[in-house]
């Protein structure tokens, strides 16, 4: 395990020696210019085979950006097709492949790795005051695995696609589908190992590598959210991997346990699939909650309201999230009694989510609030997640779910949680930590405009889909009866706005890499260890291991910002 130590590592780290107070040491003018992780090695190889968690985070960010735009292109075509009731733009088969591709890519190659593997990978060791993750080479391997997995999916895309929907329900996937089911499932199977490796690394790092003084209730809530996410990744993903392996073999060899023609029960696949896929939606929202907590506290200059409850809420969402999968199967021929149990637990899990929304809101009370772009995204998250969460109650109610199951109501519901929630949080986090990651400031005015545009575009796209679903429009329809057209046109028009809003940040982020103002170490005057090192951080994160002697989010009383604050004049009104 220890024989290969990467070559660049030995020079720059300052593991032993001076124990200066890090905060003062690095702020001073005469700070030693530690080489940043970006310049610590050159050439393609120094990136592709890096074990530095920050570089791996960048690799992940590039990878998922590519997939985000591929998935987004599929979504664009879907919305264009649905502009008219007739199936005139693409063939029925083409449409089915588009929504499958959109689902598969967005779920496994964007949403699941989005925050954990990029922001989480970059920030977790920094926030804990560690030099790296516990298993740096495992971390590198997990990126390579997702690249290989992505290659499978791109192969499927090039060869002609797959039309099972991201759910891969048997016996359609095992027997009736004409697409490249095996290759697609193999891709997801491999990506599962990537997810497991990442989750394992995060849990072990959080347990064993916290800086001195950082006891469990001083850990930033972003780390807690990643921890809770990692729990789900570890305990749910293997079951999906096995279910997909069974699908692959059943399709390849014609023997298996799902197809009724072989004596099997298709509902068993649904159990296995949703045992992963329901908790997986919490993989796709918990990290967003963590990001929003960091942002809200910083831009309200407030300690988070009810820190411990926030922790318990995160953990209970992660755990109870495993008990509710059957609410996807109320009409699938599952026993009604099991349905009742699942329905009840689905209501229960709404409680911790509600706690989180109330606590964020309460945090703003008596704050000192600045509405910069990250805060706009965070506020948008709270609003949209509230709607997404509340509509979750509709689908948890048996009679309503019987009506809206597999309709656009469900589509709208989970897009409110995942796009309105997770993607908003991802963009918020990207803006918030952009100066730390790149050492540059992004253009604030553009960013605020993009945030607002995204909010309006999103609502315009997906709110009409609630009505569509309530009216009875089933999902995955290539053609549809004309009475639904009004809402589809509204939705497609919104998608244009939303698409533009997603392209904007791509533009100004790239611009800022070259022309953005250099960022100070702590441009937001934020708490958290990640702000106590250079922007961008040196290869081993900290000149010396930081010591933690205060609670998380200790914004009381507001600390006087040091001179180097860039965007905002300091608050002239000290707390009374």
């Amino acid at each position: 395990m220890n024989t290969i130590v990467d070559a660049q590592g030995s020079g720059s780290s300052g593991g032993s020696g001076s124990h200066s107070l890090p905060r003062q040491a690095e702020r001073g003018v005469g700070r030693e210019e530690a080489t940043s992780y970006l310049t610590a090695g050159h050439g393609v190889k120094s990136w592709l085979f890096t074990t530095d968690h920050k570089r791996i985070a960048i690799l992940y960010a590039l990878t998922i950006t590519v997939f985000f735009f591929i998935g987004g292109a599929a979504a664009t075509l879907i919305r264009m097709e649905l502009f008219t009731p007739a199936g005139d733009l693409v063939s029925a088969e083409g449409y089915n492949k588009l929504f499958t591709l959109h689902g598969v890519i967005m779920v496994w190659f964007f949403l699941v790795p989005a925050i954990p593997a990029t922001l989480g990978n970059f920030l977790l060791p920094l926030m804990l005051g560690a030099r790296d993750l516990a298993f740096p080479r495992l971390n590198l391997m997990s990126w390579w695995l997702i690249v290989i997995a992505g290659a499978f999916v791109l192969y499927v895309l090039v060869m002609g696609g797959v039309d099972t929907g991201w759910t891969f329900y048997a016996p359609y996937s095992t027997t009736y589908s004409n697409g490249y089911v095996v290759a697609a499932a193999a891709g997801i199977f491999v990506s599962g190992f990537s997810t497991i490796a990442t989750g394992l690394n995060f849990i072990v790092t959080t347990h064993t590598m916290r800086a001195p003084g950082m006891h469990w209730f001083r850990v930033p809530l972003f780390v807690w959210s990643i921890y809770a996410t990692a729990l789900i990744m570890l305990l749910a993903t293997p079951v999906l991997a096995m279910a997909l392996l069974l699908i692959m073999i059943e399709r390849l060899l014609g023997v298996g346990i799902f197809d009724p023609a072989l004596g099997g029960d298709p509902v068993l696949f649904e159990h296995l699939f949703w045992f992963y896929s329901h908790p997986a939606v919490y993989i796709m929202i918990l990290p967003g909650m963590g990001v929003v907590t960091e942002i809200v506290t910083c831009f309200a200059r407030r300690r988070i309201f009810g820190y411990q409850f926030m922790v318990y809420a995160l953990l209970s969402i992660a755990v109870v999230g495993f008990f509710v999968w059957g609410h996807h199967m109320f009409v699938a021929g599952q026993s009604m009694y099991a349905g009742l149990v699942f329905s009840f637990l689905s209501y229960v899990i709404a409680v911790p989510s509600a706690i989180k929304v109330f606590n964020w809101t309460a945090t703003l009370y008596r704050g000192s609030i600045v509405l910069d772009a990250p805060m706009l995204y965070a506020l948008g998250f709270i609003g949209l997640f509230t709607m997404g969460g509340l509509t979750g109650l509709f689908v948890a109610s048996l009679p309503i779910d019987v009506h809206v199951h597999d309709t656009y109501f469900v589509v709208a519901h989970f897009h409110y949680v995942m796009v309105g929630g997770m993607v908003s949080a991802f963009f918020g986090g990207l803006h918030f930590w952009w100066p730390k990651i790149t050492g540059r400031l992004y253009p604030e005015a553009w960013a605020r405009f993009a945030a607002l545009l995204m909010f309006f575009g999103f609502n315009m796209t997906f709110f009409p889909q609630f009505i569509l679903g309530w009216m009875g429009m089933p999902r995955r329809y290539h053609e549809y009866p004309s009475e639904f057209q009004v809402y589809h046109v509204l939705s497609s028009a919104g998608a244009v706005v939303l698409g533009a809003a997603y392209l904007l940040p791509l533009g100004y982020f790239l611009w800022s890499l070259r022309y953005g103002q250099p960022a100070s170490d702590n441009p937001w005057d934020a708490k958290g260890l990640e702000w106590r090192t250079a922007s961008p951080p040196p290869k081993h994160n900290f000149p010396s291991t930081p010591r933690v002697d205060e609670e998380a989010y200790d914004y009381h009383p507001p600390r006087r910002p040091p001179g180097g604050h860039l965007d905002h004049p300091s608050d002239g009104r000290p707390a009374s």
Binding site: M1, V204, V239, A241, G263
Partner: protein, 214 residues
């Protein structure tokens, strides 16, 4: 030859590193439990739905080989445990000997398993390829055999990985390239080996024992 370096740079001390390695392996084992769990759930559901087919099919398995293999794996767990214990005391010869025995027992298991597969082929009990079952409910008996091959196959893959890992560590210890006394390598390797054993401990009564008393 100088002592190989034991401490990786992201850790502060050996204790932290050992703890991280052991915790990492335990967590991995938990995911392994759920990986097998998907298959075991399939087993449980169909056994619940079609008990007659299950008992009839399980009676046709090679119980002698299964029992012998269980004994072999349990013994290999003992030798693996010995290797870890010898490692703690820094007794290199004992470590290499115990690891060698462990790998040999593992290989022996695989050999018997292969022979068992051969017998199954001979008895036309291979779903999809060569399956003819005269007793009750051949369709669901085929599901039993499908799960049997799947479970034991996945287990055999795990065991192959474990044997390879044991051989690699054996080589590193023997050539002095592993600080086995400080690092957690032997402990972690042992945990993985024992997991392969534990999985088999459950597979044995599920595959070979049902329906024997009828």
């Amino acid at each position: 030859m100088s002592d190989p370096q034991a401490l990786a740079e992201q850790f502060d001390d050996l204790g932290q590193q050992r703890h991280a390695a052991e915790l990492g392996m335990w967590i991995f084992l938990a995911t392994e439990a759920l990986f097998f769990g998907g298959l075991l759930l399939g087993y449980a559901v169909y056994r619940h739905l079609y008990p007659e087919a299950w008992f009839a099919a399980a009676r046709e398995t090679e119980i002698l080989i299964g029992t012998a293999n269980t004994a072999i794996l349990l013994t290999s767990s003992l030798t693996m445990w010995l290797a870890v214990r010898a490692g703690e005391e820094g007794r290199r010869d004992a470590v290499t000997l115990a690891l060698g025995l462990t790998a040999t027992l593992g290989a022996f298991f695989l050999g018997l398993k292969a022979y068992e597969y051969y017998l199954d082929w001979d008895n036309s009990l291979v779903p999809g390829l060569r399956f003819a079952f005269e007793k009750a409910d051949p369709e669901h008996a085929e599901i039993f055999y499908y799960l049997y091959f799947f479970l034991t196959g996945v287990h055999a893959v795990h065991l192959t990985v474990a044997i390879t890992a044991v051989l690699v560590v054996l080589f590193l210890v023997r050539t002095g390239r592993l600080a086995y006394q400080q690092s957690a390598t032997l402990t972690v390797l042992g945990l993985y080996w024992h997991l392969v054993d534990v999985v088999w401990i459950f597979l044995y009564p599920l595959i070979y024992l049902p329906g024997r008393s009828q």
